[in-house]
């Protein structure tokens, strides 16, 4: 391994408050898990941005690339019965 490199890339996810989902905020370089967490803390949470951090090595992430949206997500369009607005409710019904 070249010693001029700065370690693998890690993707950083921050939870802004307890109960909120983790959101991708960016990436960083680190040689191991501990260093990844420490670097993420210094880089992405200097101003109370979060209460939780997830670090994932970029090479471990599996993704659907944009451009493939059609073949992956189109079938969702024909299943409108998955949405609550599809159903007819009797006139006058409440709290449903």
């Amino acid at each position: 391994m070249s010693t001029d490199n700065q370690g693998p890339i890690w993707e950083v996810f921050v939870q802004s408050k307890p109960g909120k989902p983790y959101k991708h905020v960016g990436s960083l370089h680190a040689y191991d898990k501990e260093m990844a967490i420490e670097n993420a803390r210094d880089l992405y949470t200097r101003r109370n941005e979060g209460t939780g951090l997830w670090l994932v090595k970029a090479e471990e992430i599996v993704s659907v690339k944009s451009g493939d949206e059609e073949s992956y997500f189109d079938p969702a369009d024909d299943k409108i019965y998955r949405h609550p607005t599809f159903y007819n409710m009797p006139e006058g019904s409440k709290h449903i």
Binding site: T3, N5, G26, Y31, S66
Partner: protein, 312 residues
């Protein structure tokens, strides 16, 4: 044919304000333009730590020192956001830094000016960060997703930088005659270089046209420069600083007319003949080389831990 179709779809996305993401098809020229612009932006953040780092140990109070350290740390962080965003275009961090050291990549020329007094810390925060904010606010709407997201994050952090600089200038302007003189001189040192930060006139900027068509840039150099001038002159007047331009005047539309920039100086500093060009790169290269043992130790430590894990 394939490329023409790709190009058409690419432009349609840009026109519809859909961000381009790392794995999307993009013209090679778009990728190269972004690598050049974003790495230059990243290098500027990091090289910009030098004129301010220069004053950390000599700041006039503990309050000022804490603020300056936080600001310099932010600049390093901004550099890292931007390097990561640039890497999504398929270029490595090592390569970006190598190009900087070889002089193939540029950084903002403004950081080639020295910061001889404490008032320069005020002028840099207020003017240099102020000019950077105008540019970066506009770049939040750039068409490349990772660049745009880095800009949003950076803009949130920048406004403290500008305000702390203006506070330094305002408090010097309330001080002794000597302090006022120091502030005025720093203002005069940084006024023109900060106007130069927006780059050449639009007509003389060879790369502007595609950058606008592809929405890498959203506003022209001259428009952004004018926005900065119109915000900054009233701030200077408010605290009693004199704009170092005999010909500036307020127009009826609320905008200011100013003299033209000394473009010979601009090109000269870009070509590497500014007061501190050599020193800035030499310092960066030395810091990188001195960090070699840290990188080696981190790699060895990680390897050792993985070995222990396997044998356990």
């Amino acid at each position: 044919m394939e490329i023409a179709k790709n190009l058409e779809e690419f432009q349609a996305k840009i026109d519809a304000e859909i961000k381009i993401e790392p794995k999307d098809w993009m013209p090679e020229e778009y990728r190269q333009h972004l690598i050049r612009q974003m790495s230059q932006h990243a290098h500027s953040e990091v090289i910009g730590m030098q004129p301010e780092g220069n004053w950390i140990t000599r700041s006039p109070s503990l309050r000022a020192r804490k603020i300056l350290m936080a600001k310099v740390q932010d600049e390093g962080g901004h550099g890292l956001y931007l390097y990561c965003a640039t890497e999504t275009l398929g270029v490595s961090r090592e390569q970006l830094i190598k190009w900087l050291h070889e002089g193939k990549a540029k950084y903002a020329s403004v950081f080639n000016y020295p910061s001889p007094t404490w008032a320069d810390m005020g002028a840099i925060g207020w003017l240099v960060d102020g000019a950077a904010i105008v540019n970066q606010v506009s770049l939040q709407r750039t068409s490349y997703g990772p660049y745009s997201r880095a800009m949003v994050r950076i803009c949130k952090e920048e406004s403290f930088h500008q305000r702390q600089g203006y506070e330094v200038m305002a408090s010097l302007m309330e001080g002794t005659a000597e302090q006022k003189k120091m502030a005025q001189e720093a203002f005069e040192r940084w006024w023109w270089p900060s106007l130069m930060m927006f780059g050449p006139h639009d007509g003389d900027s060879p790369r502007s046209s595609n950058a606008m068509k592809w929405k890498i840039k959203r506003e022209t150099n001259d428009d952004l420069r004018q926005q900065f001038i119109d915000k900054t002159i009233p701030q200077a007047e408010l605290i009693g600083l004199k704009v170092p331009d005999a010909n500036y005047k307020l127009l009826e539309n609320g905008s200011y007319e100013t003299s033209d920039i000394d473009w010979d100086e601009f090109w000269n500093v870009i070509k590497g003949n500014g007061p501190c060009n050599t020193q800035r790169i030499k310092h960066h290269a030395a810091a990188h080389d001195n960090g070699q043992w840290v990188r080696e130790a981190a790699i060895a430590y990680n390897e050792k831990k993985e070995q222990n894990l396997k044998s356990a």
